[in-house]
C-alpha cells in the first residue's frame, strides 16, 4: 500500500491540447523521451503542457506503454497486433505524429512497419494525399514514368 501511495504522489500530470489532464507514473512518463527531458528541465510537480498531442493520442500511447509490459514475448506480440488492428490508417497517422513528437522509441520502431503494411498496395493518388505531397510532375512527365512502370500497377487497391 505504501508503495502505491508513494507512486501516486510521484505521478506526473500531462495536459493535452484539448485540455484533458492525464496522471502517469514516472515509469510510463520516462518512456516518452520528450517528457523525460521536460521533467528534468522543470519542477516535476508542475503540470506539463503538450501543445501537439490530443487526449485520444495520449490515451493510446499510455495504453500501449502499460499493455506491452506483459510477461511473455508472445503475449506482447499479441497485444501489439491487437493494438494496431484497432486503429484506422488515419488514426495511425495522427498517432504516429504524436509518437514522433513525444519520442516513444518502441512505437517509433513498430508503427512504421504497421503503416507500411497498410499502404503497400495503395494508389499513387492516395499516397500523395496520405503523405501530403504535391505532384510537381507535368502531365507528360508523369505519363512517361507511368508508362515505363505500367506493369507494376496490376492489382492496385481501391482508395
Amino acid at each position: 500500500m505504501a508503495e502505491k501511495a508513494s507512486e501516486s504522489s510521484n505521478s506526473i500530470s500531462l495536459n493535452t491540447v484539448d485540455g484533458k489532464i492525464f496522471k502517469v507514473s514516472p515509469t510510463i512518463a520516462n518512456q516518452m523521451q520528450t517528457i523525460q527531458s521536460l521533467i528534468k528541465a522543470y519542477d516535476s510537480s508542475r503540470v506539463i503542457s503538450l501543445p501537439h498531442v490530443n487526449a485520444f493520442h495520449l490515451s493510446k500511447i499510455i495504453e500501449y506503454l502499460e499493455g506491452k509490459s506483459a510477461t511473455t514475448v508472445s503475449a506482447v506480440k499479441e497485444f501489439e497486433a491487437q493494438f494496431m488492428k484497432d486503429l484506422s490508417l488515419k488514426q495511425l497517422k495522427g498517432l504516429l505524429i504524436a509518437v514522433g513528437y513525444l519520442k516513444v522509441n518502441e512505437l517509433l520502431e513498430l508503427m512504421p512497419k504497421t503503416v507500411a503494411k497498410l499502404i503497400e498496395n495503395k494508389s499513387v493518388e492516395f499516397l500523395r494525399k496520405f503523405f501530403g505531397i504535391v505532384n510537381d510532375f507535368t502531365p507528360s512527365e508523369e505519363a512517361k514514368i507511368r508508362e515505363e512502370i505500367a506493369w507494376a500497377f496490376d492489382g492496385v487497391d481501391e482508395d
Binding site: 505524429i97 503503416v115 507500411a116 503497400e120 499513387v124 501530403g132 505532384n135 510537381d136 512502370i149
Partner: protein, 358 residues
C-alpha cells in the same frame, strides 16, 4: 489528413515498403523520385529487405514458368508468377549463377557457343545484358557484392591464355585482373558451381601436383580483387572434381560429393554434404548428412535454412514438382509446390538495386 508526418518517420515507413510499391512511389513527386533512386536510400533499403524467397524456372515441354515461392515449404505455398522483361523463348537455356541483394545473375545460352550474362532485378523489372564474345571459352564465372564500395562485381576466367576479367556494375565495363599465382597452383579445372559468402566468390578447383590431381577451394575477394586458396576436408582432396559442387547452407560454406559425375549420377544415387562450420577454419569441416536420390539429381542449399533443396532427375509424376526441400538430418522430404519436371532455382530477396542504373 491535413497534418504532415515528420520526414524521419516518412523515411522509416518508406524503408519498410516493398520494392514494387517504392517503384510506384517514384511517381509521387520529383523529389520522391530522386530520393527513392538515390544510392543511399537503395543501400539502406537493402538492409531492411524482407525474408528470402525461392526464385524458380520450371520448364516443361511447351512452356517455361518463372515464379517466386517460400523457402520453407508450406501446405499452401504463396506462388507469384514472374514475367521476365528480357526475351526468354523456350530455345534459350537459363541457369542461375548467383542471386545477391535482389540482383539475379543468370547465364543465357542461346545456341553454343553464344551466351550472355543477364543481371536482373525481378522486383522492379530492370535488367542488363552482357554479351560473352563467342571467342571466349569460359572456365569459371562468379558474382559477388563489394559491400565497402557498394558495388556488384562479375568475375570471368576464360581462355585463350587463362585470362581474368572483372565487370563492376558501378564502372559499367570489363577490365583485366591479375592472377599471379595461377601457374604455381597448377590450376587445371574449375567446378561448374560457385557461391558467394563473406565477401568471397568460391569455386572448387583441380590442381595438378606430382602426386596427381588434387582439389581445393579457390576464392576471390571481390573488394580487394585478389585470389586465395582454402583447404577442403582431407577426405575430399583426392575426389574427382566432376563429383564435387560448392554451395551455402544456413550461412556456412558447404561442399557436395556425389556418387558419380554427371550425367552418370544414377541408380541408388547419393550425395554427401560437408560443411565448414567456422569460416576459413580447415579443422571445422564436418560431414553433416547424406541425401539419397533414387534416380540421381542435384542438391543445393540456401543461406537462410538448414534444409537443402533436391532436384530429382527422371521424376516420374508429371503433376508433382521435381524440386523438394529436405532436412539432411531426418531425411524428411517436402514438395515445394511448383509443378514441373525440370526446375532450376535460387534464393532471392527483393531490393531496389538497378533502379538508377538502366
Amino acid at each position: 489528413m491535413s497534418e504532415y508526418l515528420p520526414v524521419a518517420i516518412v523515411e522509416q515507413i518508406l524503408l519498410k515498403l516493398s520494392p514494387i510499391t517504392l517503384l510506384k512511389l517514384t511517381l509521387v513527386s520529383k523529389s520522391w523520385l530522386l530520393f527513392i533512386q538515390s544510392d543511399s536510400f537503395i543501400s539502406l533499403h537493402l538492409q531492411h529487405s524482407p525474408s528470402s524467397l525461392l526464385l524458380c524456372i520450371s520448364t516443361n515441354t511447351l512452356s517455361a514458368q518463372w515464379s517466386l515461392t517460400n523457402i520453407t515449404p508450406s501446405p499452401s505455398p504463396t506462388i507469384t508468377t514472374l514475367q521476365p522483361p528480357f526475351p526468354a523463348p523456350l530455345s534459350c537455356l537459363f541457369r542461375f549463377l548467383q542471386s545477391l541483394n535482389g540482383l539475379v545473375c543468370l547465364i543465357q545460352k542461346l545456341f553454343l557457343p553464344q551466351q550472355a550474362i543477364i543481371l536482373w532485378n525481378p522486383s522492379i523489372g530492370r535488367y542488363l545484358t552482357l554479351q560473352i564474345p563467342p571467342i571466349e571459352e569460359i572456365e569459371a564465372l562468379g558474382f559477388g557484392f563489394d559491400s565497402k564500395n557498394n558495388d556488384f562485381k562479375l568475375i570471368k576466367l576464360f581462355n585463350p591464355d587463362h585470362q581474368v576479367e572483372l565487370y563492376s556494375l558501378n564502372e559499367g565495363a570489363w577490365r583485366a585482373i591479375d592472377f599471379p599465382h595461377r601457374q604455381e597452383l597448377g590450376l587445371v579445372r574449375f567446378s561448374d558451381t560457385r557461391c558467394f559468402l563473406n565477401g568471397y566468390v568460391h569455386w572448387i578447383a583441380e590442381c595438378s601436383t606430382q602426386e596427381g590431381p588434387k582439389v581445393l577451394l579457390l576464392k576471390f575477394n571481390v573488394e580487394k580483387e585478389k585470389f586465395r586458396k582454402m583447404k577442403l576436408p582431407r577426405e575430399l582432396v583426392n575426389s574427382p572434381i566432376s563429383r564435387l559442387e560448392v554451395t551455402v547452407i544456413e550461412g556456412c560454406l558447404s561442399v557436395l560429393l556425389y556418387d558419380g559425375a554427371p550425367p552418370l549420377r544414377g541408380a541408388n544415387g547419393w550425395c554427401d554434404i560437408w560443411m565448414m562450420r567456422a569460416y576459413d577454419v580447415a579443422e571445422s569441416w564436418i560431414k553433416i548428412g547424406k541425401v539419397h536420390m533414387p534416380d540421381g539429381g542435384h542438391v543445393f542449399g540456401v543461406s537462410t535454412s538448414s534444409n537443402v533443396f533436391v532436384n530429382w532427375s527422371n521424376w516420374s509424376g508429371t503433376e508433382f514438382s521435381s524440386l523438394h526441400s529436405m532436412d539432411p538430418n531426418t531425411q524428411k522430404v517436402t514438395d515445394i509446390g511448383i509443378p514441373g519436371r525440370a526446375i532450376t532455382a535460387c534464393e532471392y530477396t527483393g531490393s531496389l538495386v538497378l533502379l538508377n542504373k538502366t
